[in-house]
């Protein structure tokens, strides 16, 4: 097992290398000038050119790439062109809101999606099944920001139950922390719930049609036990896979959700950085997000061994 994990970790290196090259080239080939934005609207061309030199943007792209890559290999993500702060510390400052949002969304979404997916499979063809599938289509089709605005309008403006925006650190109290995360988690989780619920239903239907399930039913195993102890465990591998793959969806959604709900997380950091072409931040965040995505999928692969003894062998 240890050998497998090490091999998989090593295989991450070329993936991250390719990500690094693509991110750098895409950003630097795209138009936009951070120096002009830093200098301000009334700046003279000379001032803009001077700032460009100070930022090293007058160097050839290959040279800028080498400088960045050497620093990256040493664990240095660079320095923000705007604030002059190290990108790693900016990401660290913004990590708590994003991790909180991702975890609450993941927990609520996985619990809810698997529950309604199993329910829909158990009641296949019934109005409950159609309701769940209708919700899944809706959840997957409506953009995160639309869900977000509707939730804000209903629950924050009209009912005044929850705050419109912002984030309260966990250190300021668990209740405050949760209050700020309820609406963003629902908005962000909608598509994720829809995705996992559909896969759960389909996989459960396949498993429920297996001979051993018929045998279990014939032996008089209780429905709940049959669904959750026998069928769900056998359906777990594709569900775990889609949860892992869906992390990309979650990361994309975090960026929008944090903007709509004004959560000062890594998603907001990168959106603001894109508007200003703050290359080191964009590159750093994408590298971190890519690393998280690859790691999560490694964990998903490893989780197969828990669900399927054949993989362990």
């Amino acid at each position: 097992m240890t050998g497998t994990i090490l091999r998989r970790l090593l295989s991450m290196l070329p993936v991250m290398g390719i990500v690094a090259i693509c991110v750098f080239l895409l950003l630097h080939l795209a138009p936009g000038d951070p120096a002009s934005i830093i200098a301000g609207e009334n700046a003279t061309p000379e001032n803009i050119a001077r700032i460009r030199t100070q930022l090293g943007l007058d160097q050839p792209v290959w040279k800028q790439f080498l400088v960045w890559l050497v620093a990256l290999v040493q664990g240095d993500l660079g320095t923000s062109m705007f604030w002059g702060d190290p990108v790693s510390s900016l990401i660290a400052q913004r990590a708590e809101p994003t991790v909180s949002l991702a975890i609450t969304t993941l927990l609520v979404a996985v619990f809810l999606a698997i529950s309604i997916g199993v329910l829909a499979a158990a009641k296949a063809g019934s109005w409950i099944d159609r309701l769940v599938m209708g919700f899944a289509v809706l959840g997957f089709s409506v953009p995160v920001f639309v869900v977000g605005y509707v939730l804000i309008f209903v629950f924050a403006i009209n009912l005044k139950w929850l705050p419109v925006q912002g984030y309260s650190p966990i250190a300021d109290g668990l209740v405050l922390w949760l209050r700020n995360l309820v609406l963003p988690s629902i908005a962000l989780g909608m598509a994720y719930v829809a995705l996992i619920a559909r896969i759960t239903r389909t996989t459960m239907l396949d498993v429920l049609a297996e001979d051993y399930m018929r045998t279990a039913r014939a032996k008089g195993v209780a429905t709940r036990s049959m669904l959750f102890r026998h069928a769900l465990k056998n359906a777990a591998v594709p569900i775990a896979t889609i949860i892992g793959n869906g992390i990309a969806l979650l990361i994309g959604g975090v960026v929008i959700t944090e903007t709509v709900f004004n959560i000062p997380g890594i998603g907001r950091l990168v959106v603001d950085a894109i508007a200003r072409r703050d290359y080191p931040i964009i590159q750093g965040v994408i590298m971190v997000f890519s690393g998280v995505y690859v790691l999560v999928n490694l964990l998903v692969d490893l989780s197969y061994t828990l669900f399927d003894p054949r993989v362990r062998g």
Binding site: D33, I37, A39, E41, T44, L90, P169, N262, P264, D272
Partner: protein, 534 residues
């Protein structure tokens, strides 16, 4: 020691407590909401050095933590702020300034004349007015800790206007140590003698900027008036929250989560006005001026007649209306300098008074030999007023017979591409849109776009010796009446050569909770002193 479930739980709880402790302690020392103002401004602070950049948000930050030698009153007249008394010699070449007693930086050190002199020198290198002063400057010397002297080689009537101007870069006084930094290098140390102190420990760059009341600040014993008078702070803390989504910002204002929103979108004003807890307020009488940059280096607008043809095509009313909807927020303006400012006049504005005249435009296009080549218009799609104005502009030009190609892109891309002096079909451009503060535009020297210095000038690179002569004449005019007279001459010439154009003038109302009062009007800045919350 035996490891049990209880010891693991205890250790875990202790570790969580230790990790959360700094945050909990910080939370306990925070001022209450009733003593805190949360404000959403128009953008993010790109750098904390307000001299190094002309970005307005850096000046907003500067007005919080630094003080000025002079401010402007509500009639835009210079008034002493850090200065207690000043005088000028009969030949107007020697200006002597004395600082007020009790001025202290946030590190506890006293503000001295040497700090002021170093700050003037650094500011002068980066400021348009300052550069004019430098050309005439003999020396800035200190007589004692409180007195400094500005000696000039020739008279400079705009000296106090420059010292007091709220247009960026603003002359903020820093410690000598920071002020002696190369003006081309950014300063990261934030120690000022202004009414607030930046709380850097709790500030999160890009998210929220926290300013606490400066206990060392010593305000003037006078009623406040714009950036002049007593800057009395009436709350404990001000937070600039960066909130890029306008819909969320309006919802947050309605819910009372923020107290002030500088730029509520015009299309949401009706929604805001129905809320009995919110007031709309106009904090900038001169507003903002929409600027149309024309490229003088390439056809067709390297041709004076074709530039003149635009005067008879462009309809500001049509360009403003899609964004600002109601005339109470916008106006068409035929002036070369801001309408409503002392420099407004009607010289050579027949084209404006007569309204669009496509027949006349056609004559000029024919005389100018327009050959149907594309006119490339840079369109910033992420700034609604620029995007809408460019769309209408393109249609107006097409109706007149120009072949227009809109080049949609985001603002970051516009500011890069407009610096390209190449031909429009080789990455260059013919027209771009931007805006500038009404106060800056009321002065032929405050913004680069007013210059006609050719290749060395601002984007568009217009070249005209007469305009430059008149600008110098304007600077040397000793009285306002004489400057107004030169202003007419400037405008007469400008609408003949058409260095650039305008797409209108607007006043963006700000929105605030009704329980937050005491807002002062300062052009191109939002002062947070004198503001109280009940």
């Amino acid at each position: 020691m035996k490891t049990t479930r209880r010891t693991i739980m205890r250790t875990g709880m202790a570790a969580a407590g230790a990790a959360a402790a700094p945050g909990i302690l910080t939370a306990q020392t925070r001022p209450p909401a009733s003593r805190t103002i949360r404000a959403v401004m128009h953008g993010d602070i790109p750098t904390y050095d307000p001299i190094w950049t002309t970005a307005n948000m850096s000046a907003y930050h500067g007005a919080m933590v630094y003080d000025q030698l002079f401010g402007v009153d509500d009639k835009l007249q210079p008034k002493p702020q850090m200065v207690s008394k000043y005088g000028v010699s009969d030949d107007q070449l020697t200006w002597t300034f004395e600082l007020r007693d009790g001025l202290k930086f946030s590190d506890g050190s006293s503000v001295t004349a040497a700090d002021a002199a170093a700050s003037i020198r650094r500011w002068a290198v980066r400021s348009g007015t300052g550069q004019l002063m430098l050309q005439r400057l003999k020396d800035i010397s200190t007589k004692d800790d409180k007195t400094f002297v500005v000696s000039l080689k020739e008279r400079f009537p705009l000296l106090l206007d420059g010292f007091s101007s709220p247009s960026t870069p603003v002359l903020f006084v820093m410690r000598k140590k920071e002020a002696e930094t190369d003006p081309m290098q950014k300063i990261d140390t934030i120690i000022g003698s202004g009414p607030f102190v930046m709380n850097q420990a709790e500030t999160r760059a890009g998210s929220q900027y926290i300013y606490d009341k400066n206990p060392n600040y010593n305000p003037r014993n006078e009623p406040p008036s714009a950036s002049a008078g007593g800057k009395v702070v009436k709350v404990d803390r001000v937070i600039f929250q960066n909130m890029p989504d306008s819909q969320t910002a309006v919802a947050a204002l309605q819910a009372g989560e923020i107290d002030f929103y500088e730029i509520p979108p015009i299309d949401l004003l009706d929604q805001i006005q129905t809320d009995r807890n919110i007031n709309l307020i106009n904090l900038a009488d001169l507003g903002t001026v929409g600027y149309i940059g024309l490229n003088w280096l390439h056809p067709p607008f390297d041709n004076k007649l074709l530039r003149q043809s635009l005067l008879y095509i462009v309809n500001q009313e049509e360009m403003m209306k899609p964004t600002f909807v109601d005339r109470k927020w916008y106006a068409a303006c035929g002036g070369w300098m801001t309408c409503g400012s002392p420099m407004e006049n009607d010289a050579n504005t027949g084209w404006f008074k007569g309204g669009p005249n496509l027949a006349k435009a056609g004559e000029l296009m024919k005389a100018g030999g327009y050959d149907g080549r594309p006119v490339v218009v840079l369109q910033a799609t992420n700034i609604p007023y620029m995007m809408n104005a460019a769309t209408v502009f393109a249609q107006q030009l097409r109706a007149a017979g120009y072949n227009v190609q809109l080049a949609p892109m985001d603002w970051a891309n516009v500011v890069q591409r407009r610096a390209n002096k190449g031909a429009p079909d080789q990455g260059g451009w013919n027209v771009f849109f931007t805006s500038s503060g009404g106060l800056s535009n009321a002065n032929p020297y405050m913004i680069g776009g007013m210059a006609t210095t050719g290749d060395k000038g601002w984007f568009g690179w217009p070249s005209d010796a007469k305009n430059e002569e008149l600008r110098t004449k304007w600077i040397n005019a000793p009285t306002l009446a004489e400057r107004q007279a030169v202003g007419r001459e400037l405008q007469e010439n400008a609408w003949d050569i058409v260095p650039h154009m305008y797409y209108g003038q607007w006043r963006q109302p700000a929105a605030h909770r009704k329980n937050v009062t005491g807002w002062l009007k300062v052009p191109e800045a939002i002062p947070l002193w004198n503001v109280s919350k009940t």
